[in-house]
């Protein structure tokens, strides 16, 4: 970031800027292509459609498998977890967060089973050390935010900042695609639902 900014600022010559900008763009593209390829992957139409199809299928199966009476299959949280899992599948296991999502369900189940017998005892927690000079040094603004970000992105708790940023980038792109797909899906479903309602029965109101 700084390098590019300084690069641009340092050059007052306008006639060369176009060439330099092109070169910078190519550079940036070549660089970001290593990381940004995932971005392109998530932005493609086909990826979104594939995700939508899989999500629909998963939702159908969930609604079918679960007893119709129970609201478990159609719970919001269930749907969200389902959507996340489908998204993680769409990531093809290349990213840490996707693997963590897919593995988290299993871990949760295991933990639930393990915790049930020992539900009373709580995990002993280390008391947070009083902020000393060392802590102050270790709590710069950037570090704090890095921690928060690592909590947000699934499966990225103790990884180095570099990998965390990479995972965050991919995760953001995947989330964007997920939002797009689900929005389209809800629009379709709600649209058809309203159409059906409107056509079948006259609105009582």
């Amino acid at each position: 970031m700084d390098s590019y900014a300084s690069f641009r600022e340092s050059d007052p010559d306008t006639s060369l800027e176009s060439g330099r900008k092109k070169r910078r763009k190519i550079e940036a593209e070549s660089q970001s292509s290593e990381y940004g390829r995932t971005d392109v992957k998530w932005r493609s139409e086909s990826a979104q459609r594939i995700y939508s199809v899989k999500l629909v299928e998963a939702l159908q199966r969930a609604s079918q498998s679960a007893a119709p009476a129970t609201s478990r299959s159609t719970g919001g949280r269930t749907v969200r977890d389902l959507a996340n899992r489908v998204l993680a599948m769409a990531a093809r296991g290349r990213t840490r967060w996707s693997r963590a999502i897919l593995a988290s369900r299993l871990r949760l189940r295991r933990l639930r089973k393990v915790r049930k017998p020992s539900g009373s005892c709580s995990r002993p927690r280390k008391p947070l050390p009083a902020p000393s000079e060392d802590r102050k040094r270790r709590l710069p603004a950037v570090e704090k935010r890095v921690k928060v970000l690592s909590r947000l992105v699934p499966g990225c708790k103790g990884i180095p900042v570099t990998n965390l940023l990479e995972e965050a980038g991919d995760y953001i792109a995947a989330l964007e695609m997920q939002v797009r797909a689900m929005t389209a899906l809800t629009e379709l479903l709600s649209g058809s639902h309203s159409d059906r309602l409107g056509s079948s029965t006259p609105s009582p109101a």
Binding site: M1, S3, A5, S6, F7, S10, D11, D13, S15, G19, R20, R23, E27, S30, S32, Y35, D39, S46, R49, I50, S52, V53, K54, V56, E57, A58, Q60, R61, G76, R77, V79, R80, L82, A83, N84, R85, V86, G93, R94, L106, V142, R145, V146, V148, L149, L165, A168, G169, I172, L175, E176, M182, A184, L185, L188, L189, S190, S192, H193, R196
Partner: protein, 518 residues
Amino acid sequence: MESNSSNPIGMDVHSNGQLPNNCFFNPSWENSISMDQTDPFESALSSIVSSPVASTMGPGEGDHGMIKELIGRLGVICNSGEISPQSYFEHRSSNNSTNTSAYTTPLNSPPKLSLSMMDHQIRGNFWMPGTQFHPHSQQSFVPFSTDPGFAERAARSSCFGVRNFAGGLQLNGSQRQAVTAKKEKVLSRDGNSGFGDAGDSREGSSLSEQIPGVEMNNMRAQNDANARKRKSAQRGKPKDSTLPPKDSEVAGENNQPSPKKIKSGEAAENGSGKECDENADKVSQGDKNQKLGKDSKSKQPEPPKDYIHVRARRGQATDSHSLAERVRREKISQRMKVLQDLVPGCNKVTGKAVMLDEIINYVQSLQCQVEFLSMKLATLNPRMDFNVEAFLSKDIFQSRGLLAHSDFPLDSSSAPTFHYGFQPSHGMISAMSEPEVQYPENPLNAVIHRNRSNHLPPIDGFPEASSQVIKKSSSELMSAMWEDDLQSVVQMGIAQNHQPLSFHGSAEPNHPQMKVKS
């Protein structure tokens, strides 16, 4: 003296309308040039400057200085406008009746030839500044054609002149190349664009730097060269001492960017790592940046080879720890850049902390959106069976992008199901099942087959068939649309080989689709 020589040139170049008197000739040249000869030069110069014509001037010794001045002029004149060959002849003939004959002959020849002749002459003349000119030097005043190529060549010749002028200078080959390359770049670009003002000023200034004014040039160039050499030596030393394996890379870079760095004041630009040496010379700043950009660009593919070659910045520590730290910081900044493009509204934000804040907010907002949409979908879920057909037909089967990928033969078992209601696309979709049939170990295949088997008998309801098709198509789409990696990922037999995907390996067939358990 030097100031007198330099300023008028500078003024002349930039103003493009003033003609200083006796200013273009260095003291050494002035000695060789008689005063009366300067007068015709003055008039010639005035004529040159007033009308955008690069006319040739007086014969004899004056030619030498005039050549240089003309070359300097050419850049300016070409920038300002067209130069008609006729005007050349006129002026020449008016000024030097004796030389008209000499001029006419070169006139007839193609401009390039004359230019080459001129180049030779100029070079020869430049080689011995201050010496008497040979009579054949008259030919140097060749018709200056107006094409930009001529200016380019003139500049090139001036570059050669630089080399010869600064006899005291020890411009190494790379510097010379850098200079000439820079000039060519400048001129070619300007020639193509018609000599914009920026190029004009740049070229003018660069030409003024190199053109007549030997002593001035000598002094300045020497200082510059010394500065460059000092800098390169400085930069070379710590690097050579601490990073022996990186010498080749570093040294190679040293020679190229070092000539471009003259001012040491811009240490503030040490913000970058590899493209660090941005102490820009005003003259060659743009080109240097170009070259630096190219260097850094050319360097990009190199690091992945063995290890990252990092350029130690000026004034920075060069031990391995700090270098590794710098590499790490650069990686982080690169990824932050990628994130900056990803997160909307982060272009103006600078600084890691604020950027991270934005990223965190964006991720949280996206997750909230997903939750909200999932709640919405949950309420709409019961409608799905009814609407799935419409949904799929709208969203999937009508999309060209999806169908374009498939080109597989029909699967016999799936044929009847596909005939059921998806005529236009059944061929495509069923074709996708082919690759899955090849992988019997695929749990997905098992799923698909099971689905087929489960749903094949009750092929009576349209929704059921559609759902079956959907399941099959979705899985097929999933396998066909995605790259082969996906198949390898999902397949049980292969998935076990992948360490991070170990949980895929034990996926039970009971849970179709993606609910993988291990």
